[in-house]
Amino acid sequence: MENITSTIQAVPLNHYILLSAIIFTIGVIGVLVRRNAIIIFMSVELMLNAVNLLLAAFSSYSGDASGQVFVFFIMALAAAEVAVGLAIIVMVYRNTSSIDINILNRLKW
C-alpha cells in the first residue's frame, strides 16, 4: 500500500481533470449519436462515473472526506435511477416492441 499511495504524488491533478473531461465527452457523444435507448442510458452512467472520479480525485488531493461521501450518495442515487429508468425502458418496449427513441417523438406535443 505504501508504493501505491506514493504513485499519486507523481500524477498531477490536471490529468485527472483531463481524463474525466474525456470520459464525460464520450458519454455526451454517446447520447448524441445513438438511437438505442439502452445505449443512451449506459452513456448517462458513463457521465455519472466521470463526475464521481473527479470528485474522488479532488477529495483525495485536498484532504477533505466530504467529496468521497458525496460520491457515495451519487452511487446510491445512480442505483435508484437505473432501476426506475430500466423499468421505463421495459414499459416502452412492451408498448412499442422497439427501443428506438425516434418512436417516442410523438411525446413532443
Binding site: I4, T5, T7, I8, Q9, A10, V11, P12, L13, N14, H15, I17, L18, L19, A21, I22, I23, T25, I26, G27, V28, I29, G30, L32, V33, N36, I38, I39, M42, E45, L46, N49, N52, L53, A56, A57, S59, S60, Y61, S62, G63, A65, S66, Q68, V69, F72, F73, M75, L77, A79, V82, A83, V84, L86, V90, M91, Y93, S98, D100, N102
Partner: protein, 165 residues
C-alpha cells in the same frame, strides 16, 4: 506513476467501445470493463471504500440489471436502430466542441494543489464512516427514503397494467 496512465488509456478505449459497438450485449460488457478500470482508479487514489462500493454496486447490481433487461428484449445487431451519417458527424463535432471548451477552461485554472496529501487515509472506511454518520446523517437517512420510493416506482412501472391495456 505509469500505472495511472495505463489505466486511464484503458478507460478511454473501453468507453469509446461502449458507444461505438453495434451489438448492445457487447456494449454492456465493455461498460463492465470501464467500471473495472474506474475501480482501479479509486484504488490508486487510496479511496478504498469507494473502490469496494463501486465494484459491488456498479459491476454487480447495475450490470446485472442491464443484462437482464437486454435479455428480456431479445436485441441484436440486425434490430439495432442507427442514425444517419450526417447526424453522427454532427454529434461527434458537438461533443468535440464540448471537450475543447472543458480543456480550454481547465487551462485557466491555477495549478496550485498538484501535490497530494494522501497520508491521512481519508478514503478508509473508518474515517468516511465518522464523517457520514456525524455531518451527513440526515442526507444518509433521506437516501433510504429515495431508495424505497425508487423500488416502489420501478415495480409499479414495470408491472403489466390490466385495467387500461
Amino acid at each position: 506513476m505509469s500505472l495511472f496512465y495505463v489505466v486511464a488509456f484503458l478507460s478511454i478505449i473501453f468507453a469509446l467501445l461502449v458507444i461505438f459497438t453495434k451489438n448492445p450485449v457487447h456494449s454492456v460488457l465493455y461498460l463492465i470493463a470501464t467500471f473495472f478500470t474506474f475501480t482501479i482508479h479509486y484504488i490508486i487514489l487510496n479511496a478504498q471504500f469507494l473502490a469496494v462500493v463501486n465494484f459491488i454496486v456498479y459491476m454487480g447490481a447495475i450490470m446485472v440489471l442491464f443484462l437482464f433487461v437486454l435479455m428480456l428484449m431479445n436485441l441484436n445487431t440486425d434490430t439495432e436502430p442507427m442514425k444517419s451519417t450526417l447526424l453522427k458527424v454532427v454529434g461527434a463535432i458537438a461533443g468535440g466542441c464540448l471537450l475543447v471548451t472543458l480543456v480550454g477552461s481547465m487551462k485557466t485554472l491555477s495549478s496550485a494543489s498538484t501535490t497530494a496529501m494522501d497520508n491521512t487515509g481519508i478514503g478508509l472506511v473508518e474515517n468516511l464512516g465518522k464523517v457520514l454518520f456525524s455531518d451527513f446523517l440526515l442526507p444518509f437517512e433521506l437516501s433510504s427514503i429515495l431508495l424505497l420510493a425508487a423500488m416502489v416506482g420501478a415495480v409499479l412501472l414495470a408491472k403489466k397494467d390490466n385495467k387500461t391495456a
